[in-house]
Amino acid sequence: MSAIDTQPQTPVVVDNYLNHTKGVLSWALTLDHKRIGVMYTISVLLSFFLGGMFALLVRTELIAPGEGFLTQDQYNQAFSLHGAIMVFLVIIPSVPAALGNFIMPIMLGAKDVAFPRLNLFSYYLWVFGAIFFVVAMFTGSLDTGWTFYTPYSIDTDSAMSGVIPALTGAFILGFSSIFTGMNFIVTIHRLRPPGMTWFRMPLFLWAIYATALIQVLATPVLGITLLLLIMERAFGIGIFNPALGGDPVLYQHFFWFYSHPAVYIMILPGMGIISELIAVHSHKHICGYKFIAFSSVAIAIFGFLVWGHHMFVSGQSPLLNAIFSAITFSVSIPSAVKMFNWLATLYKGSISLNTPMLYALSFMFIFAIGGLTGLHLGTLATDVHLHDTYFVVAHFHYVMMGSALIAMIGGLHHWWPKITGKMYNENLGRLGCILVFVGFNTTFLPQFVLGSQGMPRRYHDYSNFLPEQVELYATYHMWSSIGSYIMAVGFFLTAGYLIHSLFAGRRAPANPWGGRSLEWQCASPPPYDNFAVTPSVGDCYDFSVLEWDEKEQGYRINEEARRKQAYPGEVADRSGAEKLDGD
C-alpha cells in the first residue's frame, strides 16, 4: 500500500483514487472500494507468499525418501497451515474480495459498492481472521489438515493448541465472506446503470454474482459447524465426538456442505476473469454469452448438491453414494459449456499473445486436466482406489491452484494498468507465466502417477513401502519438488517486475488492451468517484467500435461507430445523482 502511495507523480498531477487523500489513516479508514480492493490484494498476496513457503517446505521434505529436515509433527503442521492459509486466506478472497472489489463497481459504472462501510468492515474481519491464523501458527500449532476433520481436531491429548485459534480464524473469515457476498449481490441488483440489463452485464459480474449467492447461503453452515467444533473441543458437547454420543461423519457432511460449494467460490470468479481475458485479448465478441452466464449460475446450484462425493469411503449408504456420484457428473456439463465457448471465442479471433492471454490459455489447459480428472474421482469404482492418494492432491491443485489462482494472477495482470496506472514489462510477464505454467505442470502431473500407483497423501515419509515402490515414488516426488522450485522462481519474477513497474513502469493509457466494458472508459488509475464523464453502456463485447490511438498508446471508442451500435436509452444521464447521507 505504501509502495503505491509513494509512486512518483506524473508531470501533470491528475486527481485519482491513489492521490486523492494522503496518509496511512486515509487508507486504513477508506470507504473507497478501490482502496479496499488494493488492501485486499496486498493482504492476499502476502498470505500467498506465506502459504507458498509452507508448500516449499512440504515439497523439500518429500524430495527424497526417509526423514528429511522436518519431523513428523512439523511436517503435519506445514501441510495443514499450507492448506488452511491457501484456502481461507488466499483463494476464497482472492478474486471476489480483492479484484472484484476493485473492478465490479467500475464495471457497473457505479461510484461504489452498495454498502461501503460494510465493505471496509469485511476487510477488517479478514485481517482479524488472519491474525488468528498467525496466532495458531505461533502459539501452538495445527496438524489437522485444512479440513479440521474430527477426531483429529478434538483430540485434546495432542499438544496442538493452535486448533481453536485456527477454527476461530476460519469462522471470522467466513463472516467476512458472507458480508462481501451480500454487498455484491445488492450492488449488482440495485446499482446497474440505466441500459445495463442482466444480459448486458460483463460475464465477470455474472460469475461474481453466482459466487456471492454461494457465499451467502453456504458460508453460514461452515460458521455454525466450526462454532460447534470449537465447543466440542473446549467443552465436549457431544455433537461430533463419538465418545460423547456424537457423530464424526456428521462433521464431514456439514463441512463439505460448505466446502464443496466453496470450491465453486474459488473457481467461478476465476472463470469470470477468463471470460473477460479471452474476449478482450482475442478482440472478438464472446461466443455464447447466455450459455456462459447461465452455466455460472448452474454451477452454483449444482455445487450445493454434490458434497457427498468427498465421503464415498466414509461409510455413506451405497444409494447415497450413487446419487452423489450421478449429480457430480452433472457439474461437468456447465463447466464444459464454458470451455467450448471460450474455445469458440478464440477461433478466428485476432489473438494478442500477451501476459493475460497466456495466463488465460494456461487456465484452459490446466482446467481441462483438472476437470477431467475430477470425473475419475466422481466415479465410485475408481474413487475407492484413488481416495486419499496423491491423485486427489494433483486433481485439486489443478483446479484450485492451476485454475483459480492462475486466473487470479491473469486478472491481476489484465487490470494492473487500471489499478496502478502503470504498465509492467510485457516480456518478463510472458516469461513469468511460462515459468509458472511449466513449473506447475512439472509439480503436479507426476502426482497423478504417484496417486494412481498408490502413494497416499499427507505422508511424511515413504521409505517403508516395497523397494520398487519407493524407487518409483522417489523419482516422481523429486520431479514434483523440482517443479515447485521452478514455479517459485516464476512467482518471484512476477512479484519483482510488478513491483518494479510501480516505480519505473510506463504510464498506462485508459484502455491498453482494447476492452469494451466500463472499467476501460475511466482513466487509469480511476478518479476518486470512478467516472468523470457518464460512461456509455453498450454491448460490452462489441470491440468493433474501438480504434487504436497512437498518441495515447491505447484504444478509444469511436463515437460515430458507437452511436450506430447503441442500445436505445443507453446514454442515460447519471450525473444528476445527488450526494445523500447514508443511514
Binding site: 459447524t225 454420543g245 447514508g582
Partner: protein, 208 residues
C-alpha cells in the same frame, strides 16, 4: 462495525441516486442476511436432530427437564416482536414519541429475555449436577439447550447493540415517515430472532 459507524459524517460515500433506492437496497441486504442466518440456525437444528435420532432409544429424556422459565422468555420474545412492530408502524406514521417508546420498550424486553435465559441456564446447571453421572455418553441431552440458547442469545446481543443506536437516533429525532431505514432493518432482524427462538424452543420441547 460500530467503530466504523463512528466515522465522521464527511466520510460518507454513497453510490445511490436517491434515498428510496438506498432504502430498498438496505431492505434487500437485510433479507439476504436473514437468509444467511436462517442457514446457520437451520444447520444447528439439523445437527441436533441427527444426533437425537441416532441416539433414539438411548436418549436420557427422563433425566433432563427444560427449565420452566423458558416459557416466560418465549412470551417476552413474542411480546417484544409486537412492541417493535408498533415502533415501526409509528415511524411510518411519523408518530415520534410512540416510535421512541416502542423501541425503548423492545430494548428493555430484549434485555429481560437475556436475563431470563441466563436464569434458565443456572437452573438447568443446578439440575445437571445431580444427573451428570447417569447421563453417560449422551452428552447432547444436557448440552442441546445450551447450544441453542447460546447461539440464539449471541444473536440477541448482536441485535440489542444496533437497537440501542436506533433508539438513540430516534430520540434525537433522526427518523421520519420518509426516512426510517434503521427502524425497518432492526424490526426485520428482531422478528427473525423471535421466529427462530420459537422454532428452537419447540424443537427442544419435542426433542427432549
Amino acid at each position: 462495525m460500530f467503530a466504523l459507524a463512528a466515522l465522521p459524517a464527511g466520510r460518507q460515500r454513497n453510490a445511490f441516486v436517491n434515498e428510496s433506492e438506498q432504502f430498498i437496497a438496505g431492505r434487500f441486504a437485510m433479507w439476504l442476511l436473514l437468509l444467511s442466518l436462517g442457514m446457520l440456525f437451520g444447520a444447528s437444528l439439523i445437527a441436533f436432530l441427527v444426533i437425537r435420532l441416532q441416539l433414539a432409544d438411548h436418549w436420557p429424556g427422563e433425566l433432563i427437564s427444560l427449565p420452566r422459565g423458558l416459557w416466560f422468555s418465549a412470551i417476552i420474545m413474542l411480546f417484544s416482536s409486537a412492541t417493535i412492530h408498533a415502533a415501526l408502524h409509528a415511524a411510518r406514521c411519523n408518530r415520534k414519541r410512540m416510535l421512541v417508546a416502542g423501541l425503548a420498550v423492545t430494548f428493555v424486553l430484549g434485555c429481560l429475555f437475556l436475563a431470563m435465559q441466563v436464569q434458565c441456564w443456572l437452573v438447568a446447571l443446578a439440575e445437571l449436577r445431580n444427573v451428570w453421572l447417569e447421563l453417560g455418553n449422551n452428552r447432547l441431552a444436557a448440552t442441546g439447550f445450551y447450544i441453542f440458547s447460546g447461539v440464539h442469545g449471541l444473536h440477541v446481543v448482536g441485535g440489542l447493540i444496533p437497537m440501542a443506536v436506533v433508539t438513540l437516533r430516534a430520540a434525537r429525532n433522526q427518523y421520519n415517515a420518509q426516512h426510517y431505514g434503521g427502524v425497518q432493518y432492526i424490526t426485520m432482524y428482531w422478528h427473525f430472532l423471535d421466529g427462530v427462538w420459537i422454532v428452537l424452543f419447540a424443537t427442544l420441547l419435542i426433542g427432549m
